[in-house]
Symmetry: C2
Subunit: 800 residues, 2 copies
């Protein structure tokens, strides 16, 4: 069976012990009609066909590389790596029951306390990291800009430009080098990866400590380098990494481990903690605790429950409080160049409490155009990422070169565009009070080569950190500060730079480019419609940002709440809501949200909440892989080891047969990880007899079977068995999950998919409908529900 | 089998066609060990035992009445009525497939548009109702208070008191009469009922149009009558009723129907719409759109998905905008006595941006005491409701008398307490500007018998609408307005009145009593700690309200956001969060949230998100009812009709047997409602042959099988079959759900419960583990997962 062997080869090649779920071989129904070779040819030949069929944007990047047709590999950051599934099923075997019985009140209390302490600790640490990030960025970028300005004040323009551009390039190169050599999984925003993890996709590098380190340092360098990118997306990833680090009890690789975290050694508790971490990340980025919770709920997680709402909220509350008190401390000037705070915080004040019909019409127009531009952004980003993936996959040096090139382009824009912009006279009242032009780092009115009493509007936006630029754009009561041509030029530049920057190999968030271009677009439109509406241009900028966020990310409630928390003005709510409703609806007509697009493009096997319509015409038995590999309830050690070596499967049905049952029946499901632990303990017998659980518990504690962190744990190669031992028998009863979830083979695939996703399963047994057949006819895994896989098996079904 | 017959008798007695799910008869395992009578005796005799076992507060009210031991009946409002389950499963039979195949792009578009139009319409209507409620209350209560004040100004104190008390009593009697005779389901807050409905519990009266009418009018009368109760809970119920009314396509009973709503004739779409309605209700009550969404998510629903977040948010946005624009219109004085708006809207301004450790300690103290008092409130409320239920069940006149008595007590308090309170001199600066004392209806400083230049603090709170009282308590910068003894008296009065008022038969929300007593408690504590902290007493009042809300309702995120939206000040967030975290944690040590308590007490079979630990020791086969009633795939009409008459079951497995299959196998599951439609169409054959789906579709359209609104639809008595027809056969293949969800009999009950709840099922087939037995051994329904039922079957398991 060639397909099987291919998959395994890929898994081995990457050398990380990441193993394939269930290799796609022959589906049962196909087996009865077409010979295997014929079908596999059909699968191969079908691929280009689909590409032409308009599915270009949906196609994952990996397909084109030809190394993988089974979606067992995916791109994490800028790194191709093997992926596994997480398993949220309660494995009800003897081990679990023993563990559960042995837990007293004290252990349960320990567990509860631990859950809360960890959640609050995540909030604390993420809050600290968020603060540290801001301090670092403000100081590095501040120093860079201060020196540039000083050189310009001395009329040493060339030196200023050289300092500026080389400083940016060096920072960019440093970020890219870190990313390329040390933590390729840290490239990009990280939100698609976190989203996939919370959907049940696991790759060791997604939340590894090295990723965490590169994400933090790389993000600081990247933002300081003046790129049009944000630290918000990376903060979400950072929060998730911190949570994962704590939840796994530290890192064995780097020598930090806490063994008292044993109750947390399961995917479910880790998932909850990582959800808290992601929410805390948003909070630390935007100082928006409610927005953080809603972001986690709306965008990040696939499973949610009421208890989690409460814990997530506590985490974000802690993060917000830490951040707030530290910033309070910095206000007194203890933090170097840290000025008003790198966290964007706006001062749009809405004197408006009533709007005319004309105002509403203007806002709707803004939302429609914002939605269109947002959808266009997603489309273009997709194209650009495809081009970049060719460059990035050539190797680390190419990644660095690409990053430096983009950095040079950005620097030229930042420095060149103000050069081309004419000076504007200061508003008389501000000039009198000495607020215009500003010479120092912050302030709305940058001097930049202008004579006294005048300022350069473009420099006020471009020669600044992105946060300050956004604050300038959003500021109210500054109707005449930015002219129409200048805003148009800035919008075009930022929109294009945002597109070309995202794909480079540095941690880069999308929030800031989208907010920045949205705000300039909104302000531009506000200026153009100025005569018709009474709304402030700063408010227009805010609404423009909302329309872009709705148009690209398609988040509604969370964006709305984040913007409210940033502006601290709830009276803006109706307008922001209206804009988001319209822009999302408009953009949804064209394509999917940017993160969903990216999840697909990266080849992450994301389970959608709704089954695709085509699945309704198929039944579970149609997609299940054959031949099924099952074990006897008391199996020879040799067979087990051999099977584990030969296949990459993670779950095996156990069949109770003679002499233990008169006719074969389903005993349960064993997991690879449990088998390995059992085999290493060597509780073997010479004859084929039941040893029972007691024998196992003499050598092993329930905790030995707990799931280690991702990428850790035993592999087959860790076993050291003699020839005699291989000929003995091992009793699988104690580790068999006695109540696996099952579906009947004629269950429609759509319903099976709903079941699989809702319960967060990794394996689902397919049982026969008619009597007189083996008790299990196959196992469904995440992979079997992927539209790409089904499309390969049944090209005609999807064409319907 | 006596148990079975009892259940049916109850169902018939109520005469509403509401039928029991699966009558609790003998569980399979018990059958093998104990004779039936012995077991049922054990069940009966066990009840008092459990009562003593500390489970008193958990026990549903219905148990004591002895009419029901099967939890097929529950209290809705003040009405005992039969309940059914909702079914969110995709019934994949031929009818469904035919329907799905026949839907073109246009139909799908129609459905999508309809979904959105309905959601927005719900927002619009609920916004309008919320506004109407406010106008009505403000005008009725305003007129009442104005006349009272005028009489007092003329020194006609007795007349004033008589007018006040009789006016209140009449309004109370009117509300109670409406509730008792016309819509008993409208009594109380309605939130427990909505919570239960969204969990899958259906009773025709929960969301009936009569309930809607009584809820609106009764709530207006009740609030105007000066009770210590709110209109917020009833608004949530109103919102859900409006959504249900629209989603069912109007009311057939009252002659409003829309037939173009055919795509909405299923439980899933109705559930989504009702979720939107509940959220819109909160929004209309508090003018808090984000809070509304979070309330629906945190407290109301049991199932949530990302798409719903977006739709709910749109609904609340519309409701908020409608409300805002209408209130804007009223500001110009077009709405009679409608003053600042009945919607509580506070003006706590937080000049404080930093807190000292002492401030935080004071706040934590407040939160702890608030949590304790909140838990005490829940405990006492539970006791009082038990007493009231004796009175209420005696009949409608008793309900009215109870209501009037409570009204008299409340009136005496409102009028008497200010009488006993000494006058306070006005603050000089306010007295000079003429703001103190106030003679008219609104304003902080009520004159009430005081000489000029003085005011009566108690009257400012008590002789006012509740909303105005809350506004007064929350107002900042009014340190000396209310004295400590006065606040203590007011707190005691409001706390007690809130407790005794909730159980009377009028629509009554809990938010206002809790906020009112919390605010007075907070202000009191603020006064006492005044020397130690620099926080404003108005802020203390707000935090006190938060601590009570956290202590009674145990909602966190939604309460926090609602309070933020009411105060429009996000800087308060960290303090409110801290208070909620502490008070909820403290209160959780003592009892459950007030709504959860009430759901249990009312006997509503609510499925918890987590399976009880005891369920881990049981397997699905243990609780399943026997004997199983199944149909052949082609069954005699007589047998079907007879079974439908004899049992109350709603789902029947269909077994494919000879001659259609060599050995019996599971064909699917048919629903009672589908069977009735099929039987009425009379597609019968004389011989036992398959007729196929085509025959059915000649007489029936897929839409004929759509689920009608709750309490509607065919019953067995609607069938009119001759003797010959009864002897014929009917082919059940076309209506059999070919892929019902199944579990193996040895699946642990805990896992089965998770499956059942997550997928929102009504029936789950239990299949045998060993070969050679019937293909289905039982059906699990909601009832089988109720702890009370399991406790009856296995008293020892729960004692563990």
């Amino acid at each position: 069976m060639p397909a099987l062997r291919t998959t395994m080869a890929v898994g081995t090649e990457s050398g990380s012990g990441g193993v394939a779920e269930s290799a796609p071989s022959t589906p049962m129904s196909a087996m009865t009609t077409t010979p295997i070779s014929a079908r596999s040819v059909r699968w191969e030949s079908d691929m280009p066909d689909i590409e032409e069929g308009g599915g270009g944007l949906e196609r994952p990047l990996l397909r084109r590389r030809g190394t993988n047709t089974t979606s067992q590999m995916a791109i994490v950051g800028a790194n191709v790596c093997p992926i596994e599934s997480l398993d949220y099923e309660l494995v009800e075997n003897e081990v679990y029951k023993q563990d559960w019985r042995s837990r007293g009140k004290l252990q349960i209390f320990h567990y509860q306390i631990l859950k809360w302490v960890l959640a609050l600790l995540v909030g604390l640490i993420v809050g600290l990291i968020g603060f540290f990030n801001n301090i670092a960025v403000e100081n590095i970028a501040g120093f860079k800009l201060l020196l540039t300005t000083n050189l310009m004040l001395q009329n040493r323009y060339k030196a200023a430009f050289l300092w500026f551009i080389s400083c940016n390039a060096m920072l960019a190169a440093a970020a890219a080098a870190l990313c390329a050599y040390f933590g390729p999984a840290a490239a990009g925003s990280g939100i698609p990866e976190v989203k996939a993890y919370l959907n049940g996709v696991d790759a060791p590098s997604i939340l590894a400590p090295s990723t965490l380190f590169v994400k933090i340092v790389g993000s600081i360098f990247g933002v300081s380098a003046g790129f049009v990118l944000g630290k918000e997306g990376p903060m979400v990833h950072t929060g998730a990494c911190v949570a994962s680090f704590l939840g796994q009890g530290g890192s064995r690789k780097y020598g930090f481990t806490w063994n008292w975290l044993r109750y947390f050694k399961n995917d479910l508790d880790r998932r909850d903690l990582i959800t808290c971490g992601a929410a805390a990340g948003v909070t630390a980025a935007f100082r928006a605790p409610v927005g953080g919770v809603l972001f986690a709920l709306e965008e990040a997680t696939s499973w949610w429950r009421s208890a989690l709402l409460w814990r997530t909220f506590s985490t974000t509350a802690v993060a917000a409080m830490v951040l707030r008190s530290l910033i309070e401390y910095c206000r007194s000037g203890n933090c170097g160049l840290f000025g008003k705070g790198g966290l964007i915080m706006f001062d749009v004040s809405s004197q408006v409490t009533s709007y005319t019909t004309m105002d509403l019409a203007a806002v709707v127009l803004l939302a429609i155009v914002g939605g269109l531009l947002g959808a266009l952004f997603n489309f273009l980003l997709n194209r650009i990422l495809r081009v970049y993936s060719y460059i990035n996959e050539k190797g680390a040096p190419y990644k660095i070169i690409l990053t430096v090139v983009i950095s040079l382009v950005t620097s030229c824009c930042s420095f060149g565009l103000p050069w081309l912009t004419a000076c504007t006279p200061c508003p008389p009242e501000l000039a009198a009070s000495g607020h215009c032009p500003t010479i120092g780092r912050s302030g709305n009115f940058k001097n930049f080569r202008c004579p006294p009493g005048q300022y350069n509007a473009m420099a006020s936006l471009f020669l600044n950190t992105n946060d300050d630029a956004i604050r300038n754009l959003f500021s109210g009561g500054t109707e005449s500060e930015f002219g129409v041509p200048m805003l148009l030029a800035f919008f075009t530049a930022v929109y294009s730079l945002g597109l070309v920057t995202y794909g480079v190999a540095v941690p880069s968030g999308l929030f800031i480019p989208v907010i920045l271009s949205g705000a300039s677009f909104g302000r531009l439109l506000g200026k153009l419609l100025g005569a018709l509406t009474g709304l402030d241009t700063g408010l227009f900028a805010l609404l423009g940002a909302a329309s872009f966020l709705g148009g690209t990310m398609r988040m509604t409630v969370s964006v709305c709440v984040i913007l409210l928390e940033l502006t601290n003005d709830l009276l803006l709510l109706p307008l922001i809501m209206l804009v988001l409703l319209v822009s999302k609806t408009v953009a949804d007509c064209f394509n999917k949200g940017v993160y969903e697009q990216m999840v697909r493009m990266k080849g992450l096997p994301y389970l959608e909440a709704h089954a695709e319509p085509c699945m309704r015409s198929l039944v579970a038995g149609d997609v299940v892989s054959a031949p099924l590999i099952a074990f006897s309830s008391v199996e020879s050690v040799g067979t087990v080891v051999d099977t584990l070596r030969r296949t990459g499967h993670n779950g095996f049905p156990v069949i109770e047969d003679a002499p233990f049952a008169p006719e074969p029946e389903l005993c349960g499901l064993v997991l690879r990880s449990h088998l390995l632990v059992l085999l290493r303990a060597k509780t073997f017998t010479a004859d084929r007899v039941k040893t029972g659980a007691a024998e196992v518990f003499r050598k092993l504690a329930p905790f030995d079977f707990a799931k280690p962190g991702s990428g850790k744990g035993l592999t087959v190669d860790d076993l050291d068995l003699t020839e005699e031992e291989m000929a003995m028998y091992v009793d699988l009863h104690p580790i068999a999950n006695r109540s696996p979830y099952t579906v009947v083979e004629n269950m429609s695939l759509a319903k099976a998919a709903v079941l699989f996703r809702q319960l967060g399963l990794r394996h689902m047994c397919v049982v026969p409908r008619t009597p007189g057949r083996p008790p299990v006819v196959g196992i469904l895994t995440r992979h079997d529900f992927m539209p790409g896989y089904i499309r390969g098996l049944f090209p005609n079904v999807l064409r319907e």
